[in-house]
């Protein structure tokens, strides 16, 4: 498939339009066409969560989202995170190498707005969609717990 199409969506609050390959993934559009390289590719098959973004407010693995599915949608990436939010995560050792970090930040952002989810599922279960190889997860869990309870 060699053809391209014009894709318009709202990226971190700004309307943008790019001409992208028909078979592009949302991840590719963000990283290469929008130069928003904060979102990372870890596995390309929706297992690791490093590519997580918010699509119309829902966390999705952007490596599994065909770009055309994002047309007209709101997309929020790690670049939109407030420094204070990031600083709270930094304090507990949430990030070591940083490769999984953007995906974790996105999940944490969503969870901070939907803390009621934790009545049904433990924080550890919920964070299982974000794989990390460095931290052993304790720094991540403490960090995410600190931003979620804060918002409550």
């Amino acid at each position: 498939m060699n053809s391209r199409f014009e894709l318009s969506f709202i990226l971190n609050g700004h309307e943008i339009t790019r001409t992208v390959p028909t078979d592009a993934r949302l991840l590719d559009v963000l990283r290469y066409d929008c130069r928003c390289t904060g979102t990372k590719e870890g596995c390309g098959e929706g297992e690791c969560g490093a590519c997580a973004v918010l699509l119309d407010g829902l966390p999705v693995n952007s490596c599994l989202v065909p770009a055309f599915q994002a047309a007209g949608c709101r997309v929020e990436t790690v670049e939109s995170v407030a420094p204070e939010f990031a600083a709270k995560l930094n304090a507990t050792g949430t990030s070591q190498c940083g490769a999984c970090t953007p995906g974790i930040v996105i999940t944490a952002l969503w969870l901070a707005d939907h803390p009621e989810v934790l009545r049904q599922i433990s924080l550890r279960e919920f964070m299982s969609g974000n794989l990390c190889r460095c931290t052993g997860y304790d720094g991540v869990i403490e960090g995410v717990a600190s931003v979620v309870s804060e918002k409550k």
Partner: protein, 738 residues
């Protein structure tokens, strides 16, 4: 005081905000993308390479071995690994061709359109299999390296022993799964070939480029970009990738980036050496270790790479932290026609200590002795010697460390409770197990002397400081701890210290970021360089504001000059190592640990779950509590994966499950909190007394967990990974595992 304080991780914010620029994030004008065409067969002669004519190959740059200007050799310990296969291949996925194109989608289509034909030769897939003349590919017996460690006279001790206990232990390969895959960019700039990428050791890459292209170091500039995880997987492989990117960039006359996708990275790059370890141990009636015979076999894969040093660390740690007068350890690492195995956190010690700590429990079971008592009677005391006859000088009381670890885990009480629970529950079996172990920091023996590391600390014109080393932050926190160490030595706040990016044109060679050496060895050099800086600013012994003022004054008097404090590695006095006999002081310092694992086995699913984990270690000095806990917890979890779920399935000499969907690393929901505790007995060798800790946590969890599973089931299990399938086979008795 900076050392010991929990300052915010210095590179944390850029990682949390997504602004850190990893190699695949770099915006480069005129960039081409590169890819590797690899051997489809495990061994054979290349008979032809076919390019599908439907692709316009004129648009592509194609590089094969004929484009190589000098020796087709990637230099590690030996020079036998080619950068591109010429006539023969020795493993599946061996690089044969490189292609590049400005469009990544054109590149991806082209990758599918090249066929490499191989006339197969007989291949070796198991290092234990008998050889034929046709399968010998290295030396006269496919053995990359042999090492023997001898202490005392084991033969005599075996003859008089009350009991002789044997055991065989097996550990599987492991894939690093750094979340950022391997990547490298090469381009020409200002007369130099500039390489940027994800690498643990910029000077290793530089040395391999010098050798390969036959040019002096000034012809290159190697710059480390932020590393999204290493674990040893980016210690040696980047040299190959840098050469590939450089070849393409030179032929294309354009910048070339090669980034592996996950499936290629998993299938083609280095992994942990699989091991087979046999123990034969003579003990007296009380369980005192009289003699140990240990046979260690590692699978090195197709080329030598780092196998000799992995074997070295494996055999040195093989007898465990125990007092035994008569020891013979024999180790071999052999060739197989699989992608070469390489560095992976622990570097041989996790493999042999899995065997040792399982074997101690096996000995205890056979003698009817409590495994805790068995350790107590044998753990090294200050003044006793290791297998290489290194005197244990640390004042650590290892039995007391063990007792504290067991106490923290409520070992005795839980074990009794589980014994009761297990008779009642229909399908859950609970158990608790532990391991006592150690890990040497820094390069073995004279390795640090050979490295001859050098560090600079610069006094900048504004009175701030820059620390220049080759050591990289791959997540473990190098940037932060070196800042703390320098700030403490200089008597200033951490904000006054900047860490230079490891760039071979800017920093001295302070050695690779491996072997748990950064905090202790490089940190100590930084302390000394800070002292040298004060000397050169003519304020000997000064620090703080006085030193900063002296530096500003110096710059006023010496415009446009640099003020560099320097320090070069000095071999610690009193340490002696004999590389031929493998006797003496193997490492300047050891960290010591007791880990306790509590598990739950579900007999319906054969799944093993770790429900509690205590990690207690004596590390000299904790430089940064959060980073140190992060290292231990991360290493423990990586080892839990190695023990229970991470199976490298090999088919026809390569990894068949090379995806994150079917190679399973632990997720947060699989794990309990890892309870980390430190003790500190300051070592004379490291800043603030610090010893190395990066690899230590890889050595203990697997045997602790399997010991716990054995406790839960009343079985003896000696192989990892203990996947549900493997446990089912063992318990169903279709496998004759002891």
């Amino acid at each position: 005081m900076p050392i010991g304080s929990d300052i915010p991780r210095i590179d944390g914010m850029e990682k949390l905000q997504g602004t850190a620029q990893y190699v695949d994030d770099l915006q480069i004008e005129g960039l081409w993308h590169g890819a590797t065409i690899r051997s489809p067969a495990a061994r054979g002669k290349i008979t032809g390479i076919h390019f599908d004519p439907s692709i316009n190959w004129d648009e592509f740059v194609v590089v094969d071995h004929r484009d190589i200007p000098g020796p087709n050799e990637v230099i590690f310990i030996e020079k036998e690994e080619p950068a591109l296969a010429a006539l023969e291949v020795r493993h599946r996925h061996e690089p044969v061709l490189l292609i590049a194109h400005p469009s990544i989608s054109a590149l991806r289509r082209a990758r599918q359109a090249i066929r490499v034909d191989i006339d197969p030769l007989p291949a070796v897939f198991d290092p234990r299999q008998p050889l034929t003349p046709q399968t010998i590919q290295y030396g006269d017996d496919n053995v990359f390296k042999r090492i023997d460690i001898r202490k005392g006279d084991p033969q005599a001790a075996f003859e008089n022993a009350a009991h002789i206990i044997e055991g065989e232990y097996e550990t599987g390969s492991q894939e690093h799964i750094y979340i950022e895959t391997q990547g490298m960019v090469a381009h020409r700039e200002d007369g130099q070939l500039v390489i940027r990428g994800s690498m643990q050791c910029p000077f290793y890459v530089l040395k391999s480029l010098e050798h390969f292209f036959g040019r002096p170091p000034e012809a290159f500039r190697v710059i480390q970009t932020p590393i999204g995880g290493g674990f040893g997987g980016k210690e040696d492989y980047p040299s190959i990738l840098a050469i590939h990117a450089a070849l393409l960039a030179e032929k294309a006359g354009a910048p070339v980036k090669i980034v592996y996708d996950r499936t290629e990275d998993m299938a083609a790059t280095t992994k942990r050496h699989p091991s087979w370890v046999r123990h034969r141990t003579a003990v007296d009636a009380d369980g005192r270790l009289l003699a140990m015979e240990i046979d260690v076999l590692l699978d090195g894969g197709a080329y030598v790479t780092l196998s000799p040093v992995v074997l070295s660390r494996a055999v040195i740690h093989a007898a465990g932290p125990y007092d035994c007068e008569h020891i013979h350890i024999h180790g071999e690492v052999r060739l197989t026609n699989t992608p070469p195995n390489g560095a992976f956190r622990g570097f041989g010690a996790p493999q042999t200590q899995f065997a040792t700590e399982r074997h101690m429990d096996v000995i205890a079971a056979e003698l009817g002795i409590d495994p805790v008592e068995l350790r107590r009677r044998n753990l090294l005391r200050t003044g006793q010697t290791t297998a290489t006859e290194q005197v244990m000088r640390d004042k650590v009381n290892l039995p007391a460390l063990m007792d504290r670890g067991l106490e923290l885990a409520d070992y005795a009480q839980r074990q009794r409770q589980f014994a009761r629970d297990n008779t009642e529950h229909p399908y859950l079996r609970r158990g608790i197990g532990f391991a006592t172990f150690y890990h040497g920091a820094g390069f073995t023996g004279s390795g640090e002397t050979v490295l001859a590391s050098e560090v600079w600390v610069e006094g900048l014109p504004d009175g701030r400081f820059m620390v220049l080393t080759a050591n990289t932050d791959m997540g473990q926190g190098t940037i932060t701890i070196l800042t703390q160490i320098a700030a403490e030595a200089l008597g200033v706040n951490e904000q006054e210290v900047i860490i230079a990016t490891p760039d071979t044109s800017r920093v001295p060679n302070s050695g690779p970021t491996v072997a748990s050496r950064t905090a202790m060895v490089v940190g100590r050099l930084i302390e000394r360089a800070c002292g040298d800086l004060a000397d050169r600013a003519e304020v000997k012994g000064a620090g703080g504001a006085a030193l900063q003022q002296a530096i500003r004054d110096w710059h006023s008097g010496n415009p446009d000059q640099r003020l560099l404090g320097k320090a070069k590695h000095q071999s610690p006095k009193g340490l002696k190592w004999n590389e031929d006999t493998y006797r003496g002081d193997a490492y300047a310092a050891f960290a010591w640990a007791t880990y306790v694992a509590t598990v739950e086995v579900d007999l319906r699913t054969y799944g093993v779950r770790v429900t509690d984990f205590v990690a207690l270690q004596e590390v000299g000095k904790v430089i940064h509590p959060t980073l140190a806990r992060g290292q231990i917890a991360g290493g423990v979890v990586q080892a839990i994966g190695w023990a229970l779920t991470e199976e490298v399935v090999m088919k026809e000499g390569a990894m068949a499950n090379n995806q994150m969907t079917n190679y399973i690393i632990p997720a947060s929901g699989d794990l309990p909190p890892i309870r980390v505790y430190f003790e500190e007995q300051p070592s004379q060798f490291g800043p603030g007394g610090a010893k190395g800790i990066g690899e230590l946590p890889m050595d203990g969890p697997a045997p602790a967990i399997i010991n716990a599973v054995c406790d839960a089931l009343g079985a003896q299990i000696n192989t990892i990974p203990l996947t549900p399938e493997r446990l089912m086979t063992i318990l169903d008795g279709t496998n004759n595992e002891r």
